[in-house]
Every structure is written in structure tokens, then in C-alpha cells.
């Protein structure tokens, strides 16, 4: 069925709103949209174009669907507040970009869940599209509404709003899911039958096929959900895109007209990070680590720059300087871009002098600021969170950076981490001031006035599928007290302190840890006017508080309660393939202040991801160690005995892929 074209009604609105370039389509590199007989899919980012167009998931998934025979994908974004209000007033529904078609006309729509503050925007999206908010209210001819992304690891606060939630990497999964919908729709199958069939696809969670249990029942049964049918899986494992390392690092890209965040060519050089920071969800959910080869990456950069015309390229990943060939990659990319005024950026610097060397390789003459994330102010707390970084690492990075010409440095910390005391808070001030002293010593006297050291504090948000999932968040009042203490402890004028608003972090924690009852809270808050919660100036605290009161939900308890590791959490039926035993063990080691090494440098930590997924770590070469470090005598050995870990028995030995692409297994049997 051909999609309708809303452009004639959209165009007259564009002279009345800000930044019409958000709504135009027609960018360089955009696809034509589905052909008339194609199965049509609309990929939605639940925030404005500037944030969504830069999103890698949107780019990858639209490309994956377009590459599938007989399917066509379009993009849609949530209009900014001025446009959304005008559209409601003029009765114009949410439209896709490519065909400017009503989102409601698509066969299926996908909404990515990038962070915990996007929930009300999901409802705003559905409402603007004219799609009923709840799966049970949707009619046979409404599109299937699919969700996915980081928040899928605790899907319950979103559960009633989605027909199906996809867990893990979607490159292969999304075309599979759409294929099932297409086949069944062609056969005239009812919606209920389609949902039943979707539950059979790996990594797909269909919330309406499970009964939500009471807390008491859940603790007894070991899970908060009970499958309503025998063929519905009791536990949903994330999907992993096994071909990642060997797949082309070149990914077609649309070049926006209006300035977006990260407005540059992004080339994903590796996926996953096994450093094992205990607060970090990304570090748990993208395992195992998989590197693309230097040849693959350099060719993707060259081709990407030629096809997009961008003047900046970013080599993205969770920890780019950990790539085993990073020095070679940066040197070659530098050579390929010489003299063209092209900037090369490497996000997520490793916190040591090697990280700075890598930054220096591509910085050119302009050295803006460098950002490092010690996360905690004392060695004790850094050991608790498994941030395997010492003061010496930080100081050697500072020495190198300021000697090389950098003058500004930003240090990221978290407040409210488990076991944190006032000494740890004062430790942040002390560390930042000593870092400033080191910077001063590394800079010629006449330039010392230009040194700036800033401290940026986020509030710890406990995340599902991490060792700290059982820990509570501190209250917003306590956050303010600790930030106050930090500010008073900083005596240097050149060190400034910024912190994240604890009111929004509170909502994040509730969304992160809540069960299905939180969905009602989201809907009520949205009805009371909450939307764009991630935009500081639009955050509507009253709506959230009023909603909690009206529904009798104790949101503070959800955010702040601490549980023993045998407590069954509301997301136990979803897994990132990292075993619950590993998470509990990591939490115990945290309490003991014992660190766990990164399995891509050292011993296997028996997290369970490789055996559960039938996947392997894929490195191009051995990863370079820090100066003075030695690899464990028996690298890639499991650190704890199988008897103790239980799940370690089948842990496959990580493989080191040789530069020629073949897999040379550097394996010790795990026993």
C-alpha cells in the first residue's frame, strides 16, 4: 500500500516554527523510502532531530532494513515542543521524513530507548502518531510497535506500551522480526498470533504474554513474570551480532543540514568493553569485546569522508584507545587525511599516558580540552567500583597532556556510589587539586594562568544487569549535601565544580529499577505534562511528583532501596548474557574492595557472556599493556575456580584473531 504524503499540510507549518531544517528530509545520502509493495518500517528516535539523527542505532537499523529484500525503512523524530503543539492544533499527525507519511500507516514502527529519561517522549511520540498508547488498546490495523536499545535491559517501565521489545544488537534481529510480521500479515493473521510468533524470535520479549506477579510471588518463583503460554520463553537472552568484527566498518550515512550532536562521520571500530566497571551497564551489555581490523577501519574512514564530505571523523566505541591496533589506525587515518583540514577524534580516552599519546597523535595544533573519568576520589572507592585506575595513572596522563600543550582538563566523577563516605567526597577535591598542581608543574610559568581543571559530577544511577543493580541511589537531598561538601573542599579558584541535577537523576533511578507498575507512573506524568525530561529547562518535577502521589507509588523506595543479592529483581527474566552469579560475585568483591581484571588484557573473569552466547572475544592482536605492567603468568585463565563460580566451567577461552583475519586461539583450557 502506498503511503500518504503529508507534505502539503506540513510545509505551511514550517514558517511558523524554529529550525525548519529538522523536518525537511532531502539530506545528502537519504534513502527514497519503501517502494509501493515493500513492507514498511519507521524507525523513531524519541527526541528531536538533532539528537536522533546522530544516533548510531537509527543509522544502523535503517540501513539493515533497507538492505533486506522487499523492505523499506524511513526515519521519524519527535518534533520539538513548538512544532508538536502546532501539529496538535492543526491536527497534523506525526510524520516520517522520507515520504512525509503518517507514522500510523507503517506496517511496523520501532522506537529506540536510548536512556531512562525518554519514557514520556515515547508516549508523546505514540500520541502524536495517533497510535493507542497501550498494546491492549491497539486495533488490528495499527502498526506493530517495537522497542529496543539500552533500556530494554529493564523493559518493565515500558512494557505496556510496546508490542514487542528487542533485547541486544539488532542488525540481524530486526530484519528477522519484520520478516515474521510481514509473513503473518500477508496471511491475514490476527495481531495476537503475530505477537505469539514474535516471542519465538531470539532476544524478543513480548510483555503481554506474561503475567506480572506480586513481589511475594516473584521472590518465591525467582521471576516477576509468568509466561502465559508454554512456548513463551521464561528468560530472554540478548542477541549479539556475531559477524560484527568481520562486517564492513563503512556504514552509509545521511549528512544533516542542521547541526546535530556529534555532527561528524562516525566509524565504529570495536564493540564492547570488558574493563568491568561495576556501575556501568554498557560494559555488561555489549560483551564480548569484538574489534574490527585496522584495514577495515581505515578504508571505512576514507570512503566515509569521500561520500559524506564531513570535516571530522570519530573512531567510536566504548573504549577506543583499547583497540589492539589503535596506534596503527590513528597513524594511517592521519596520513589519509593530511592537509585537508579534517579533524580526527577519539572518544573515551584511556586514563594514562598512552591515552594522551593517542590523543596527541590526532590533535594537530588545536588542543581544546581533554576529559578523563577517574569516577571516584579515592583508591579505596575506585577499587570498589573496579575502575582499575590509580592516581599515578591520572597524574601521568595529566603530565603528558599539559606538557603536550593541552591547557584544559575535565575530570568526571560520580557521587553516591555504593560505600561512599565523606572522605571519598573530599578525595575528589584533593585529587582535582593535586591534578592541577601537576598540570602547573608541566606548563611554562607564563602560561600557568590559562590552566583550567573542571570537576563534573554525575549522580550514581543503579543500572539493571550490573553488579550494583541491588544498590540504591542516595536521595536528592543527600546528593546536594555531598556536592556542597565537595564545593567547600575545593580551595583552588582554577578548579570549578559542576554537577548533574539530582531531581532528574532520581527519575532515572526509578526508571532504571522499577517494575511494571512504573509504567502507570510514566503515563500519568506524561498526562500531567512531562515530556523532554532530558532537557533540563523542560524537566517537569511537579508532573512526576504529582503522578506518584496520585497513584500511590513510593518512587523514593524504588530508587533508593538496597537489596541483598538473593533478592529477585524486576528484570531477572531479561539477561545480557552476563550471569547473575557473576553479578553477585562482583558485588561481593566490591564490598571487599577487590578488583577484577579486564579479560581482554588478562584473565577471563567468568562473566558467562561467551559461553551463553556461543560467541568469542575477537581481538586483532594482543592488547598493549600499560608501562610497567606484566600480563598474568597464565593469561586468559579463569580467575576463580569452576567449583566456586559454577558457571565458569564452560567458559570458552577467548580467541585472539590474527591480523590476517584468521582466528589464532591463544587458549588455556578452563579448568
Amino acid at each position: 500500500m502506498a503511503l500518504s504524503n503529508l507534505w502539503p499540510v506540513v510545509e505551511p507549518l514550517l514558517s511558523r516554527i524554529e529550525r525548519p531544517a529538522r523536518y525537511l528530509n532531502h539530506e545528502w545520502g537519504c534513502a527514497p523510502g519503501p517502494a509501493e509493495d515493500d513492507f514498511s518500517f519507521c524507525m523513531i528516535y524519541p527526541d528531536t532531530y538533532e539528537l536522533g539523527q546522530a544516533n548510531q542505532a537509527v543509522r544502523i537499523l535503517v540501513n539493515a532494513v533497507n538492505a533486506t529484500e522487499g523492505m523499506g525503512a524511513e526515519r521519524a523524530f519527535l518534533p520539538a515542543v513548538d512544532m508538536a503543539d502546532l501539529m496538535r492544533q492543526e491536527q497534523v499527525p506525526l510524520f516520517s521524513l522520507e515520504s512525509c507519511a503518517p507514522v500510523r500507516e507503517f506496517d511496523a514502527v520501532g522506537i529506540t530507548l536510548p536512556h531512562e529519561l525518554a519514557a514520556t517522549n515515547v508516549l508523546e511520540t505514540l500520541d502524536l502518531a495517533g497510535i493507542p498508547l497501550r498494546t491492549e488498546d491497539r486495533a488490528e490495523d495499527d502498526p506493530l510497535v517495537l522497542g529496543g536499545g539500552p533500556c530494554a535491559y529493564n523493559p518493565e517501565p515500558y512494557a505496556p506500551f510496546f508490542d514487542a521489545i528487542m533485547v541486544g544488537e539488532g542488525e540481524e534481529q530486526l530484519p528477522e522480526v519484520l520478516g515474521v510480521i510481514r509473513t503473518l500479515r500477508a496471511e491475514g493473521a490476527p495481531r495476537a498470533a503475530i505477537l505469539r510468533a514474535l516471542a519465538q524470535v531470539g532476544g524478543v520479549y513480548v510483555p503481554s504474554l506474561y503475567r506480572w506477579r506480586s513481589e511475594e510471588e516473584a521472590q518465591e518463583a525467582g521471576s516477576w513474570v509468568e509466561p502465559l503460554f508454554e512456548d513463551v520463553p521464561p528468560v530472554v537472552h540478548k542477541r549479539v551480532f556475531e559477524g560484527f568484527a568481520d562486517s564492513d566498518a563503512f556504514e552509509p550515512m545521511i549528512v544533516p543540514y542542521t547541526e546535530v550532536v556529534h555532527d561528524r562521520l562516525n566509524v565504529e571500530i570495536l564493540r564492547g568493553c570488558a574493563r568491568g566497571c561495576r556501575f556501568c551497564q554498557a560494559g555488561m551489555m555489549y560483551r564480548p569485546v569484538r574489534e574490527r581490523s585496522a584495514d577495515n577501519i581505515v578504508s571505512a574512514v576514507t570512503r566515509g569522508l569521500a561520500e559524506t564530505g564531513y570535516d571530522e571523523v570519530s573512531l567510536t566505541s566504548l573504549s577506543s584507545t583499547d583497540h589492539s591496533q589503535i596506534a596503527e589506525i590513528l597513524t594511517r587515518v592521519n596520513g589519509a587525511c593530511a592537509g585537508q583540514g579534517i579533524r580526527i577524534s577519539v572518544p573515551s580516552q584511556r586514563l594514562d599516558s598512552f591515552g594522551v599519546e593517542m590523543a596527541e597523535l590526532v590533535a594537530g595544533q588545536k588542543k581544546g580540552g581533554l576529559t578523563f573519568a577517574p569516577e571516584a576520589g579515592t583508591q579505596r572507592l575506585r577499587d570498589v567500583i573496579n575502575k582499575n585506575v590509580t592516581e599515578d595513572d591520572l597524574f601521568s596522563a595529566i603530565d603528558a597532556a599539559f606538557a603536550a600543550g593541552w591547557r584544559r582538563c575535565k575530570l568526571y566523577f560520580m557521587v553516591g556510589l555504593p560505600t561512599e563516605t565523606d572522605d571519598d567526597i573530599k578525595g575528589i577535591a584533593s585529587l582535582a587539586q593535586r591534578a592541577y598542581d601537576r598540570a602547573k608543574a608541566a606548563v611554562p610559568p607564563e602560561q600557568r594562568g590559562s590552566i583550567r581543571m573542571s570537576v563534573s559530577c554525575a549522580v550514581f544511577v543503579p543500572k539493571a544487569q550490573t553488579p550494583f543493580q541491588w544498590d540504591g541511589q542516595i536521595s536528592p537531598e543527600e546528593t546536594l549535601r555531598r556536592v556542597g561538601l565537595l564545593k567547600r573542599s575545593v580551595k583552588y579558584k582554577a578548579v570549578d565544580v559542576h554537577y548533574h541535577d539530582p531531581k532528574t537523576s532520581f527519575v532515572e533511578a526509578v526508571m532504571s529499577r522499577g517494575g511494571r507498575e512504573v509504567a502507570d507512573w510514566v503515563e500519568e506524568a506524561w498526562k500531567r505534562g512531562a515530556r523532554f525530561d532530558a532537557w533540563t529547562e523542560l524537566f517537569n518535577e511537579e508532573a512526576w511528583n504529582g503522578a506518584a502521589e496520585a497513584l500511590g507509588i513510593d518512587s523514593a523506595a524504588i530508587a533508593q532501596a538496597e537489596y541483598p543479592t538473593d533478592y529477585v529483581l524486576p528484570w531477572t527474566h531479561i539477561t545480557a548474557a552476563v550471569s547473575p552469579r557473576f553479578l553477585a560475585r562482583e558485588r561481593r568483591r566490591a564490598a571487599e574492595g577487590v578488583t577484577t581484571p579486564d579479560c581482554t588484557f588478562d584473565q577471563c573473569s567468568a562473566c558467562g557472556a561467551c559461553p551463553t552466547l556461543g560467541a568469542d572475544i575477537e581481538l586483532q592482536e594482543e592488547r598493549p599493556l600499560k608501562e610497567g605492567e606484566t600480563r598474568a603468568a597464565n593469561p586468559y585463565r579463569v580467575i576463580e575456580s569452576a567449583a566456586e563460580g559454577g558457571d565458569a566451567v564452560e567458559a570458552a577461552a577467548p580467541a585472539v584473531a590474527a591480523a590476517d583475519g584468521s582466528t589464532a586461539t591463544d587458549s588455556q583450557e578452563v579448568r
Partner: protein, 214 residues
């Protein structure tokens, strides 16, 4: 600015259709990216933050398109103008499309001031029976109100044929009257005088010519 070792290519382009809704900054960025895609030997500035040596003509207001827009691109190597044009065209979307390229002298006036006289053509949603050209227009600049005398900027009369207006404005070194503000006030005065119904608005607004001062 004038580096005699560089080749200065003046490229004329059209900005049409939906892309008339782009801001000047968005157009500038899009053109730079097209130059890079065209793989032309563009010059790069020296200094801390090297960037492409390119200069743009006078800005168009958001919503106003153009058929005779231009930019100057500085090249380190001579590329025959037709060849450069073809490369740019292959790297450009239809609504932001180069139509001419020719070399000009290094000493010629800068792109931003070379052509202060602009002619605009506006198609209105309906044909007014007569036009009322306001004598003065009050604009807000940097939060201050400023009253501009229209005849200081208007070159010749405002022509009116059916639903189409045509007029020419001159930009002064001291400031200029924006074409979109002028048309807005002109429509308001025309509607107020009863020469057209409420709701009169431009449906197509283009700058059709730019030239040097006499």
C-alpha cells in the same frame, strides 16, 4: 586575504524547493561538504584550527530561496572551470545545485560585499487589487527597535503583476532592510488598506538577481 598563489573560483548556485528553509549557516556547511565530496583541491587556512578557504555571498533569510547565489572557493591547483562545476554538480542535491563556475581575480571584492543589490520575486497566495508600500519599517535589532526608511533601501518601484511582486533592495554598509521583513510589512499594509483578504502570504519567495552597486 588575497593570496595570489591561489585560484579563486566563483560558483553560482541555486537554492530552491524545501532547501529554501535552510539558514545561512546550514547552507554554508552544506556547500563546504559538497566541495569536499567533489574532491576539489581546496585551500586550507593556516593556524590553530585549519579550515576550508571559502567565502559566501550575502545571506538569504530562512524561507527565501535564490537562483543566483554564489560563493568563492580558493583552490591550490587550477582545475578547468567546467570540470570543477561538473564535479560539484555530481556532489550536490538538486535543490542546492551549482549552475556556473568561473575564475575571478584575487583582488575582486569579497563575496559578502561584492553584490549589494538584490532583486526578489515573490508569488503571493492571491492577487491583491493594489499594493501599499510602507514608508518606514520598524525592526528589532539586538533588542533595540530601529525604524528604517524604505526608500533609502528600495531601488526602483515594487512591480506587481497579478499575484507576483518584484522589487530590488540595496544593502548599505550601515545596515540593510531584510527582504522578508519588507514583504511582511507590505502585506500587512496592503491587507489593512483592504486590497487583499486576511491571510495573504508568500507561497514562493526567491532572490533572482544579485549585482554590484552602480
Amino acid at each position: 586575504m588575497a593570496d595570489p598563489r591561489l585560484f579563486r573560483l566563483r560558483v553560482t548556485f541555486r537554492e530552491t524547493g524545501r532547501l529554501a528553509l535552510l539558514s545561512h549557516l546550514e547552507v554554508a556547511r552544506a556547500l563546504e561538504r559538497a566541495v569536499r565530496r567533489a574532491n576539489l583541491p581546496y585551500a586550507v587556512s593556516q593556524g590553530f584550527s585549519p579550515h576550508m578557504r571559502i567565502a559566501f555571498g550575502a545571506a538569504l533569510p530562512v524561507g527565501v530561496g535564490g537562483t543566483a547565489e554564489f560563493f568563492d572557493l580558493f583552490l591550490t591547483k587550477y582545475v578547468a572551470a567546467p570540470k570543477a562545476l561538473a564535479a560539484l554538480q555530481a556532489a550536490s542535491p538538486a535543490d542546492l545545485y551549482p549552475t556556473d563556475a568561473r575564475y575571478i581575480e584575487a583582488r575582486d571584492a569579497a563575496a559578502s560585499v561584492a553584490c549589494p543589490i538584490s532583486t526578489y520575486e515573490v508569488r503571493l497566495s492571491e492577487a491583491p487589487t493594489a499594493l501599499v508600500v510602507p514608508e518606514t519599517i520598524t525592526v528589532v535589532r539586538k533588542k533595540k527597535e530601529k525604524t528604517l526608511v524604505v526608500e533609502e533601501f528600495l531601488v526602483g518601484p515594487v512591480s506587481h503583476e497579478g499575484d507576483t511582486l518584484r522589487f530590488t533592495l540595496e544593502a548599505k554598509p550601515t545596515g540593510s532592510l531584510r527582504a522578508d521583513a519588507f514583504v511582511r510589512e507590505l502585506i500587512a499594509a496592503t491587507v489593512a488598506a483592504g486590497h487583499a483578504a486576511d491571510g495573504l502570504h508568500p507561497v514562493n519567495f526567491m532572490r533572482v538577481d544579485q549585482r554590484a552597486a552602480e
